[in-house]
């Protein structure tokens, strides 16, 4: 191999793409592009395309400098490390600032977040004052120079070389101070210059002077400054002193260019007679003439919310090309259900006829690893789209054609209590009978589900099975309460003029909402199966799937169509609590210490199997603990926060507490199911392979070979998985806490924030307890073991 080939291979092998910076970069780019397109539609002259390319280029430069072989080479060569620093200090920040990022990034955020969460901070005088101090030319200049010199002192530099954490801190310092330094030079819209434009010439010249002194120090140093470079293997034939001199030269020449080139740009502006107006000129004269020269960020953040009555909402899933048409088409939705029915049939057949080892059987893999893993994410992102594709609704369709279906569901069962009981039963069976480990039991459950759905829907009108019976449906309803997407009206004024209300009454050809939700008064996703019968029935094409303000479904305590006031319903409160505590109980049952503890207790008490111990543990987790916590909150919360502002004064608080805990439950379900999905997603390959061989009677064996069973389990967990789990649980905790604070604030509008914080402490203790429970679970090894029925 030639040295060029060696260099090429090493460079390719040394790319170190890290998960979290990549996620952050993708998020920033998505927000920027979304906001940029919106801004460009309203003021195209202010946002020419090159600004977007500049911003994207700046982000890519940052990613390139920290992911590329430069980062690795920086440990061997000071010169490579200096190139990395130059990119972070002098290339990426100006490129990003040229993209005028403030407005696009703000407009890229959902309106409610911008207005309700960012707006108050941008309006704060303290924040505005602090920002002005930070981007003042003197602050920026001093900060950059200090950061450069301090981080190149031998002790600090060595620290960053040996410890990746400090290396990242160093980069964060460089980026922050560089943004502060370049801000007055670029003066991105809508900021206003503090100093005259001409002052930027000495500003940059002085920065160049200090850079020259700094570079000369390295270029002419008689000894190696950083001892690490004396100990590592020389690369490219450079000895440490030569490498150090080269580093000095790099900082000197390209480094100076970075400061000198903008001076030419400033002089050009001044010579062109634009002087103080240069900033305006850069954003297009035509715009400046017709619009305010600058706007404050708080004005931008508080751009009025688009409400239902103000016209069509910005995003509607049913109007998205292809996907929207698919969901909007009744036939396509039926097709989706038939596809799911096909999968259910495959699961049932393999469950009954395939191997009894779950991880070799489609009934042990498809529902418990893949379906659950995909379901929790879809429920969060898209709302209750899974119920839309539910194959168990097909019996209802059949029953509707052949049977009268005139009976009303019995009044005694018209609540969530039946579903609560079935959910507890489900969680108990899952744990004690190890459903995920028993293909035949899984198959029986699928069959039982079809039979139950047909029997209920054959006699009772509407979607009684979905609303009152189906435990999976209740899981979907509650998990999708954390989703911003919901079935809603496109224009309230159209509904106000509507006289037929076909969405709930139905028409000659289509039934109205089976779960009795009247869309103009519907709030959130509880009881909504996303079947879109309402959209099909609406003669005005006025129903879509659109985002609502984040977590509104949780903090809304008013009356909801067909449900009433959630916070006053003990059955709904019980449902929410079972699903919250069930999330933790379900995940804990898979951990090694709990399995060992159960085995130990089973042996100690002389039981023939672990059913009694597991049942006892579940009884505590799903029944005793929620009841104790509920009683405690029921007693304490009204005493410290006063009566609930609307609805039942005491029960209302319990309902609010349950609602506020939902995000923690959702987070735990996501963490649990994503763990199995991300560590075992490839298991479908050998299992499907095995099923194909079985179906063909071994006829395909010569062509397909043997299943690669090592794919079933054996990928090591990604490094970022545990951190991701912690982050998801933390997000659940923060949202849960914010929801309860909003309830507390609504009941106590005049109390100070400190006082309110003290008064919500009892609930905070419960939330923190659940968070700690979740943390404990994810730090345990997952056994993925269960009971094999032989």
């Amino acid at each position: 191999m030639t040295w060029l080939e060696v260099l090429r291979d090493s460079a390719l092998d040394s790319w170190n793409v890290r998960f979290w910076p990549s996620c952050l970069a993708i998020l920033v780019l998505v927000l920027y592009v979304r906001g940029f397109l919106a801004a460009r539609r309203s003021t195209p002259a202010r946002f020419p395309r090159w600004r977007a390319w500049s911003f994207i280029g700046g982000v890519l430069v940052i990613l390139g400098s920290i992911f590329s072989p430069l980062d690795e080479l920086g440990g061997y060569l000071l010169s490579a490390h200096m190139i990395q620093h130059l990119l972070l200090l002098g290339v990426a920040p100006p490129l990003i600032l040229l993209g005028a990022p403030a407005m696009p990034l703000l407009r890229g955020l959902p309106t409610t977040i911008r207005r309700e969460w960012i707006g108050p901070f941008l309006m704060s005088r303290f924040v505005q004052g602090a920002f002005h101090v930070l981007v003042h030319p003197i602050t920026g200049w001093v900060a950059l120079v200090l950061a450069t010199w301090v981080w190149h002192v031998s002790v600090m530099y060595e620290l960053a070389l040996v410890d990746p954490f400090w290396h990242e801190v160093e980069h964060a310092f460089f980026l922050t101070t560089a943004f502060m330094f370049w801000f007055p030079v670029i003066q991105p819209w809508p900021s206003r210059a503090v100093w005259p434009r001409a002052a930027m010439i000495p500003y940059l010249l002085l920065a160049d002077v200090q850079n020259t002194v700094f570079s000369a120090f390295f270029a002419f140093a008689p000894r190696v400054i950083y001892p690490t470079y004396e100990q590592v293997t020389p690369v490219f034939g450079l000895d440490p002193l030569q490498d150090q001199a080269l580093a000095g030269a790099i900082m000197w020449v390209p480094g100076s260019l970075i400061f000198i080139a903008p001076i030419a740009w400033v002089i050009r502006d001044l010579l062109a007679g634009r002087g103080a107006a240069a900033q305006r000129a850069r954003y297009g004269v035509s715009v400046v003439e017709t619009e305010p020269r600058t706007i404050s960020l708080d004005q931008l953040a508080n751009e009025p919310l688009k409400t239902r009555s103000s016209g069509p909402r910005r995003f509607d899933l049913l109007q998205v090309p292809l996907l929207g048409r698919l969901f909007a088409s009744r036939r396509a939705r039926h097709l989706l259900r038939f596809v799911m029915l096909g999968l259910a049939v495959v699961v049932v057949l393999d469950g009954f006829l395939g191997p009894r080892t779950a991880s070799m059987n489609l009934a042990g893999v498809l529902p418990w690893t893949h379906w659950r893993g995909i379901a929790v994410i879809l429920l969060l992102i898209g709302g209750n789209l899974l119920c839309m594709a539910c194959p168990f609704t097909l019996p209802r369709t059949l029953a509707g054609r052949w049977l009268p279906r005139k009976l009303a569901f019995p009044k005694q069962l018209r609540s969530k209590w039946l579903a609560v009981g079935l959910l507890v039963l489900w969680l108990w069976m899952y744990e004690v009978l190890a459903l995920w480990d028993s293909p035949s039991a899984t198959a029986w459950i699928v069959v039982g589900y079809f039979v139950a759905a047909f029997l209920v829907d054959a006699f009772f009108r509407g979607a009684a099975f979905c609303k009152y019976v189906c435990p999976i449906g209740q899981f979907h309803f509650v998990q999708s309460m954390a989703s911003p997407m919901e079935v809603t009206t496109r224009s309230a004024s159209v509904c106000a003029r509507c006289t037929t209300q076909d969405c709930i009454r139905g028409s000659d050809r289509i039934e109205g909402c089976g779960t009795g939700l009247f869309v103009p008064k519907k709030v959130g996703n509880l009881d909504c199966t996303f079947c879109l019968d309402c959209a099909d029935a609406c003669p005005h094409d006025n129903i879509g799937i659109s985002p609502s303000p984040p977590a509104r479904d949780l903090w809304f305590s008013g009356v909801r169509s067909s449900i009433g006031r959630i916070t006053d319903r003990l059955d709904v409160t019980a449902l929410l609590l079972v699903l919250v505590f069930g999330a933790f109980a379900n995940a804990m049952g898979m951990t090694a210490p709990i399995i060992e503890w159960q085995d130990d207790l089973t042996r100690r008490f002389g039981f023939s199997n672990h059913a009694f111990v597991a049942s006892g543990l579940l009884l505590v987790e799903l029944v005793v603990l929620p009841i104790v916590v509920s009683l405690m909150l029921w007693w304490i919360v009204p005493r410290v926060l006063g009566p609930a502002p609307v609805g039942s004064p005491r029960l209302g608080w319990l309902g609010r507490c349950a609602l506020a805990l939902v995000p923690l439950g959702v987070a735990m379900w996501i963490v649990h199911y994503q763990f199995h999905f991300l560590t075992s997603w490839a298991s479908i390959v050998p299992v499907a392979h095995r099923a194909l061989l079985d179906v063909s009677g071994g006829g395909l064996a010569g062509w397909l070979g043997d299943p690669a069973w090592s794919h079933a389990c054996c990928a090591p967990a990604p490094d970022w998985l545990l951190t991701l789990e912690v982050v998801i649980l933390n997000v659940g905790f923060v949202v849960s806490w914010a929801v309860f604070l909003s309830f507390a604030r609504a009941a106590n509008p005049t109390r100070t924030t400190t006082d309110l914080f003290c008064r919500i402490l009892p609930m905070t203790v419960v939330q923190a307890g659940l968070l700690a429970w979740g943390f404990w679970i994810i730090f345990q090894p997952m056994q993925m073991r269960g009971t094999l029925l032989l």
């Binding site: 108050p120 309006m123 080892t357 779950a358 991880s359 070799m360 009044k411 018209r414 209590w417 039946l418 009981g421 079935l422 039963l425 108990w428 004690v432 009978l433 028993s438 709930i504 009454r505 779960t515 009795g516 009247f518 008064k521 009356v559 169509s561 067909s562 009433g564 319903r569 003990l570 059955d571 090694a592 023939s608 672990h610 059913a611 075992s680 050998p686 069973w709 090592s710 079933a712 389990c713 054996c714 990928a715 090591p716 967990a717 545990l722 912690v726 905790f733 923060v734 806490w737 604070l741 100070t752 924030t753 943390f775 997952m782 056994q783 993925m784 009971t787 094999l788 029925l789 032989l790």
Partner: protein, 197 residues
């Protein structure tokens, strides 16, 4: 529109009587809990499936995913022809590092019936460091020919970090709670200002 809330079609919205709040219907469901019997036999995640000497052998490992430290190797042996489990056999698992040298003795771990199961055998092996390890699972069933040797290549991930090593991430929610409180304070001040006007 307002009238619709009181129509039967709009179910129980605003009609609290229509909602049955009694949890008594849970009683028959709870009664069901006593009627189900569990089976017994632990498994893990399938690592390999081998058919030899008229036996069907499935090898599992736990935990999932495998990390450096103690790893359970579980085997389930059934008759190939009838599917009946074989309940008496010997299990040995040999662990070799990827740089195994035949002159250096490798680690050997004997298996035994898993006390929490009915038919599976379990052997606990130690994989001291992250990386790829070669495991040789040997099963000897009396009167069924020579031993069946199943080589496995196991990639062990880094051991779980201790919780205190992730303390900054674990406590990551706290700054956000501070921001939420700051926002509440700012909004309250803004409302106070509005009402003063």
């Amino acid at each position: 529109m307002g009238v619709l809330d009181h129509l039967p079609a709009d179910a129980d919205a605003g009609d609290v009587v229509a909602v049955n709040r009694s949890p008594r219907i849970l009683i028959p469901i709870l009664a069901l809990l006593a009627m189900v019997r569990p089976g017994a036999a632990d498994t893990g995640q399938v690592r390999d499936v081998v058919t030899a000497n008229g036996l069907h052998i499935v090898v599992f490992t736990a935990p999932t995913p495998v990390r450096a430290g103690e790893v359970e190797v579980v085997t389930l042996v059934t008759e190939e022809s009838t599917g009946r489990p074989v309940d008496s056999y010997a299990l040995d698992v040999e662990v070799r590092s990827p740089l195994w040298n035949p002159t250096v003795p490798s680690m050997l771990s004997m298996g035994s019936p898993d006390p929490g199961t009915r038919f599976a055998y379990k052997s606990v092996v130690l994989l001291p460091d992250p990386g790829t390890w070669e495991l040789v699972v040997e099963i000897r069933v009396p009167d069924r020919g020579g031993p069946v040797r199943i080589p496995l290549s196991v990639v062990a991930g880094a051991p779980h970090p201790m919780w205190w090593q992730m303390l900054p991430v674990l406590l990551g929610a706290i700054p956000f709670l501070g921001l939420i409180l700051a926002r509440d304070s700012l909004l309250k001040r803004a409302r106070k200002g509005d009402s003063a006007l």
